[in-house]
Amino acid sequence: MADHEHAEHTEHIVPPRTYMIIIFSLLCLTAATVAAAYVNLGPLNIVVALVIATMKATLVVLFFMHAKYSPKRTKLVIMAGIFWLAILLFMTLSDYASRVDYRGIRYPMTQNIALVPSPRA
């Protein structure tokens, strides 16, 4: 192990200047997401909101959480986590998107509302 090419790189210290740039970017992106919500983009509203949220999350992970300066092993864990989340979302949503229920009604099943009204309606 000792002869392994594992140069003892000292811990990377992110300077406060970087943190200030990141927090400023995060606040700008927050303003952008609120502004975008008031523009009618049709089905793209949620896409824009999620893209901005993901940009913010990426900044937090890379800089506040030092992932950019972490060992490859740690980066692998992060990527694996995102990949597993993608499996969860993709498989479940593709099931819902292609599901037909026993009455032959496709998802979304909002058409069923009239069939089964709640007692309070």
Partner: protein, 245 residues
């Protein structure tokens, strides 16, 4: 808890020891991603199915309070990052200052969240027997914190939503279940985080952290930033549905 930062037998260097601790924290955070991911998935399916009810529910939230809380939480992440930096460079007096600021911002968040929750109880917007999405429109005098214009705007939105979804009251409860479930679990994480920060503050005042050993500051920092990321997603998902209408 090993306070001195001595090297344990299974590691070659202190750096390797710290990388291992942070790897363990990341693995825990990945399980947290799956935990919140499942809830957000359930939210997504319900939002897609009952969009009008979710849009109606979202518009009853205060964007001012939600937006302020977003800024407060982002700022607390910044002070936490600065705390980690103080520990890394050995600024022993600065570390407790940044930890205190982070705790204060955390409590500002709780305060605003309390105001929001109290308002929802007051407006009969808590899922259950007394849930009534029409409450403020039908009893404007009982919702004295809402202006006449706000009530009027809500009436228009309510009529549109009711026309699109005859069972609006039931489906709006799904939105509010998601709202209380997700923000509640997020707040629970923050309460745990605040507890950890109080502990760190006590340790930092005793001068326990140094450039050679600051692993707890680093790991609590990771946790706090993760909680911030959850809110980064919750804010647009809960507060910003269909605002342009």
């Amino acid at each position: 808890m090993h306070r001195t930062g001595a090297l344990f037998g299974q590691f070659e260097t202190l750096e390797q020891q710290k990388d291992t601790a942070s790897l363990g924290m990341w693995i825990f955070l990945v399980t947290e991603v799956m935990f919140f991911g499942g809830i957000m998935l359930a939210y997504t399916i319900n939002r897609h199915t009952y969009f009008h009810a979710f849009a109606m529910g979202s518009k009853t939230l205060s964007l001012t309070l939600g937006g302020t809380n977003t800024v407060v939480l982002l700022a607390s992440s910044f002070t936490m990052a600065m705390g980690v930096w103080s520990a890394q460079v050995g600024k022993k007096k600065l570390l407790p200052v940044f930890l205190t600021l982070t705790i204060v911002l955390g409590f500002v968040f709780f305060g605003i969240k309390y105001v929001e929750y109290a308002q929802k109880f007051h407006h009969h917007l808590v899922p259950g027997r007394n849930f009534d999405i029409t409450y403020c429109v039908n009893n404007p005098t009982r919702c004295e914190d809402m202006s006449a214009e706000e009530i009027k705007a809500e009436r228009v939105e309510l009529e549109e939503a009711q026309a699109a979804d005859p069972d609006l009251n039931a489906h709006a409860q799904l939105y509010y279940s998601a709202y209380f479930g997700m923000t509640g679990l997020h707040a629970l994480h923050m309460i745990i985080g605040a507890g950890l920060l109080f502990w760190l503050l006590g340790q930092s005042l005793k001068g326990r952290f140094s450039p050679e050993w600051n692993t707890p500051v680093d790991l609590v920092g990771l946790y706090w930033h993760f909680v911030d990321i959850v809110w980064i997603y919750l804010f647009p998902l809960l507060y910003l549905i269909d605002r342009h209408n």
